[in-house]
């Protein structure tokens, strides 16, 4: 395998990892599989298009505004939709996310049409390839994605491991009833999980759109990142990271050596393989299975 191929794998893995962090967060805390995650990521990218249009002279402000909107988006989704399903069967909650996904898809086309947008062009940024090693080049935006993924994962790890609210999120995921009995407001914890989830998804969407633009098909990336989350085990962030690497490697290898058409199906083939051998994922906990 050439170094360039490895670099491509790392970039793709970073994208998948950044996106799948949101799946893991929401799942781990509230046991809801958010099938609208890809669409929420796409909306995050479109919001950047909007803020870039408003503040084309001030990219930092536009980026900050879009990032904050990403956080607010999750809080709103929780408060308006998911909140009413707390304590209901998980089935209903998952179905609602499917409905939300289709709604967001429709809305985004109504608002932004099917045309492709380039927020980077609005800022007047170019996205030149850089040589990180002799013979290995990746775009600046891709580098930023890798860096951001590392930062986001480190921050999430520290947050979940060492802050009281992080510990509470983990606790609520394990035993919501006991969490409530220890004074934790489940609604607050769930809303926070949704907020962080769409925040990281928006960051991914924003950077992807800076790299290669955004159009109505971006949501598919969210769907493809999903196997990465599951391969690692839905309740483990570290697992999501490793899962993303495995899926990205398989996908790039398949595109390179077998057939480019395989791109969409490979993540799911990897997933099916893992499900057959280790249904709880590579790093997930076995008892987690019972809750799904």
């Amino acid at each position: 395998m050439s170094p360039q191929l490895i670099a491509n794998i790392v970039v793709l893995a970073a994208i998948y990892a950044l996106v799948s962090a949101g799946y893991v967060l929401v799942y781990r805390v509230s046991h809801v599989l958010n099938l609208a995650h890809g669409e929420l990521m796409m909306i995050g990218a479109y919001i950047l298009v909007a803020t870039a249009g408003l503040f084309s002279g001030n990219p930092i402000l536009a980026l900050l505004l879009a990032a904050v909107s990403g956080l607010v988006m999750g809080l709103v989704v929780y408060a308006v939709l998911m909140r009413w399903l707390t304590g209901e069967a998980v089935l209903a909650a998952v179905l609602v996310t499917i409905a939300l996904g289709i709604l967001l898809r429709g809305l985004s086309i109504l608002i932004w049409t099917t045309q492709q947008f380039y927020p980077a062009a609005i800022f007047g940024w170019r996205n030149p390839p850089v040589h990180i090693l002799p013979g290995v080049q990746i775009s600046v935006a891709s580098l930023a994605i890798v860096a951001l993924t590392i930062i986001v994962y480190a921050a999430l790890f520290l947050f979940l491991q060492f802050t009281a609210w992080g510990v509470r999120m983990r606790a609520a995921g394990q035993n919501p009833l006991l969490a409530e009995q220890r004074g934790i407001r489940l609604h607050a914890v769930y809303a926070l999980a949704w907020g962080l989830s769409t925040f990281t998804a928006s960051l991914a969407g924003m950077l992807l759109s800076l790299d290669s633009g955004v159009e109505s098909t971006m949501a598919t990336i969210g769907l493809k990142a999903f196997p990465a989350a599951l391969v690692g085990g839905l309740d483990s962030l570290f697992g999501a990271l490793v899962g993303a690497l495995i899926v990205a490697a398989a996908e790039i290898a398949a595109i390179q050596f077998v057939n480019p058409l395989l791109s969409d199906v490979v993540p799911f083939l990897v997933l099916l393989l893992v499900l057959a051998v280790r249904p709880w994922g590579l790093f997930g906990s076995r008892e987690q299975l019972d809750r799904v």
């Binding site: 707390t86 983990r170 009833l177 969490a179 220890r182």
Partner: protein, 275 residues
């Protein structure tokens, strides 16, 4: 009311009725009082409704599909039926549950951190943690251990500890002795008394082991099939022949298995009373 209360009760439950899934009524009108700084025991057989009563006080969540359908629960004069558990914990009602009493995938220290204590500065949090380790010194060396790996006794101590970090005024304890060796139970019982004495915390204790319960409680209620069938000061209850016969295992024969059956037979005849 035969015993005139000297002070206002901390917890006053009147004619409490609770149903699961809207139809299965588990409590049929329970009335009880818990005076400040006392230890009250609620005893009864399996399925009598003890856990249900404590859960009703501490609050149900959606998945329980349970509701208070009648009567009232007053805590410090305020009505709290059907409030969510976190709100009651914030009021100072904290439960040590029967099962799933700790977070198994969190460490001992994290199990204490989790509690969202009302109005507590970080200094006070530290003081509360220290208090827990002072009350239960056995936990101190286990701080970094996953709670799922603790022994039954250690787990119960941790459950008490994490409840105490919530700064309870009223501590609800579901099955202090379940699955624990007699020595451990004695030790825990002493600590419950210490918690009441030194921290001024009121305790409502549910037990199947009537001997243990009446040994540490000031006042006791006996509950059967969702009804309170007997109540009185603990010492007095201990001396009652029915209690000795049915709950303390001193029965000579076993023609009558339930206290209510004994009590009702002369009054109601063989026909069962319909609820």
């Amino acid at each position: 009311m035969t015993n005139v209360p000297q002070a206002a009760p901390l917890l006053a439950i009147d004619d409490l009725r609770v149903a699961y899934h809207r139809v299965a009524v588990a409590l049929h009108g329970v009335t009880l009082r818990v005076m400040p700084q006392t230890i009250v025991a609620l005893v009864g057989n399996n399925g009598a409704g003890k856990t249900t009563a404590l859960r009703a006080i501490s609050g149900f969540i959606g998945v329980d599909d349970a509701r208070v359908i009648g009567g009232s629960i007053r805590f410090a004069g305020r009505r709290i039926e059907n409030e969510p558990p976190h709100a009651n914990t914030a009021r100072g009602i904290v439960l040590v549950p029967e099962r799933d009493k700790v977070f198994p995938n969190l460490t001992v220290a994290e199990n204490l951190t989790v509690a969202a204590t009302r109005r507590a500065s970080s200094a006070e949090r530290r003081r509360l943690d220290e208090l827990v380790f002072a009350l239960f010194p056995a936990l101190a060396p286990l701080r970094a251990r996953l709670a799922g790996l603790l022994s039954g006794g250690e787990r119960q101590m941790l459950a008490f500890g994490s409840a105490i970090v919530c700064k309870p005024e009223l501590l609800l304890v579901d099955e202090l002795s379940l699955g624990l060796a007699p020595v451990v139970v004695d030790d825990l019982a002493r600590r419950v008394r210490a918690i009441r004495r030194e921290l001024g915390i009121t305790v409502l204790l549910v037990e199947q082991n009537v001997g243990v319960a009446l040994a540490i409680a000031d006042y006791g209620y006996v509950i059967e099939s969702g009804h309170v069938v007997l109540e009185g000061p603990a010492g007095e209850l201990r001396g009652r022949p029915e209690i000795q016969q049915f709950y303390l295992g001193l029965a000579t024969g076993n023609q009558v298995r339930r206290y209510r059956a004994l009590r009702e037979r002369p009054a109601n005849g063989p026909g069962d009373r319909r609820q």
